[in-house]
Amino acid sequence: MSISIQHINKGFGQFSALRDINLQVPSGELVALLGPSGCGKTTLLRIIAGLESPDSGQVLFDGVDTTHRDVRERQVGFVFQHYALFRHMTVFENVAFGLRVRPKATRPSDAEIKKRVHELLSLVQLDWLADRYPPQLSGGQRQRIALARALAVEPKVLLLDEPFGALDAKVRKDLRRWLRRLHDELHVTSVFVTHDQEEALEVADTIVVMNHGQVEQVGTPQAVYDQPATSFVYEFLGNVNAFETPQGKGFVRPYEIVVSRSPSTDSIAGQLTYVHSVGSLVRLEIKRADNAQYVDVELGREVFNQSQFAQGEQVFITPNRIRVF
């Protein structure tokens, strides 16, 4: 099911959370709403779900206006940031909940519910936890149960609020890949909220970058990373260094800087204050001689090994690509 968001505005008291948001989510896509905290991304997700209503504007599912349709009738699956599993119910009952609360006419039989729940638990690879209670599960397990519960009602749209936010780094990476594969299997239109650019870049088909209640840019991960529309997008999607240029403030990624021991025509002198050489990349911190600002530089290990810069050394840096907005 496709989602279309048209001229959505939303305020909380004096604070304007969303300003004239327009967005198209094609059917079957996995979209990330990316932005810093307070940018309105969660509010937008909740408006799509029907948990919050916009002050003005419309939400269309497959071209049908659903702005005022009750959250129960929207057929969305929602995974909450802290999972919101029913703590007094077993994992099985949690997943079965959406089927059990249906009106009698459309409620599946107990046998069907049992079959369906076990299918879902196998899908998230946690069938063996059916009789446990949520407090007895790890964070990653809770996350997957929350997802199984949301999928039980066969949602047309799957919405996830910071799905990996509360997990530790290792689990987060595994779950990220797993979610991507699951989406490729199910092809349900999915929107997830995140403040982690790496997560958005790795998982999503399309990234919607938001800031201060507005959409800054919409595009594929490659597009928003390589052709950022605004300086905010550029800064938010990776580390940057700011340089003064005749055209105004310019931005340079840490790997777009050449470091050498001898000066060239437009190089800048500086002192190497710190070398961090763990992993495939070596990070250098260089203090500029002219304005005492620090510049972050990333070198491939091969490149670094050839020159072997040492801490405290005098070096010259040349940005080979400057972006000015």
Binding site: R72, A84, F86, V101, R102, P135, G139
Partner: protein, 297 residues
Amino acid sequence: MHATQSQQYAAKIASRRATSEPVWVRYGLITLTVAFLTLFLLVPLAAVFTEALRKGWSVYIAAIFEADALSAMWLTLIAAAIAVPLNLVFGVAAAWAIAKFDFKGKHFLITLIDLPFAVSPVIAGLIYVLMFGLQGWFGEWLIDHDIKVIFAVPGIVLATIFVTFPFVARELIPLMQAQGKEEEEAALVLGASGLKMLWHVTLPNVKWGLIYGVILTNARAMGEFGAVSVVSGHIRGLTNTMPLHVEILYNEYNYAAAFAVASLLTLLALVTLVLKTYVEWQAARSAVRNEEGVIAS
């Protein structure tokens, strides 16, 4: 080897000392507390039962099964049977509204719920007399329609409801606020109706707090004296609750009977205490279980 052991032992004692008071302070405080409790709680408790049984079991039994005493018990049970369910519903509704929604005047509502705690029970009774009594606001209308509120059962029930209504709400509000509304939202998104959400998600989550509130409400409903005294009129066999019956017997110098009925109220208090302890223990246990789960993750 011995030296290190004794050193360790000394270090252990020292570290214990660092975080606790000197022995005489600890034992002093404990003695004081126990003495106070004995003097003001245990001795009177023992006195109630001693006095009740002073003239033997037969007098005790007779006092309890006397017609007016039975009718007082019956009225007490009726007042509690009406007040407790009503305040249960009201308490859940109020706590629900306050904990899960934002609206103007929320703090005023919380203050209002606390009013029965703040006002003297006698004043609470008087309010009803002023409203429903013969000279009260609705007095004439009530007489015209032949409805008796004051000096009758309805007045007693009203006064009981008034003095007991904060208990359930007061127990539930902090609990519900701490739990937030994500689980309720999850239930709604999954298609649950409001009632199903309340029954399957909200109430099970506050189960122990709710039971605790009901126990306190019941204890107060059965034991209330001041407010009920004002609206009752003390008509024997008709508008006397157990606490009022005790007072009447006592004023008639019928000590054995007075203490016999009082002993029933005392037993009620003891049962309440046991139930309360059990509920607190259960609630703590389920909290610990949740806590352990969080740590394990």
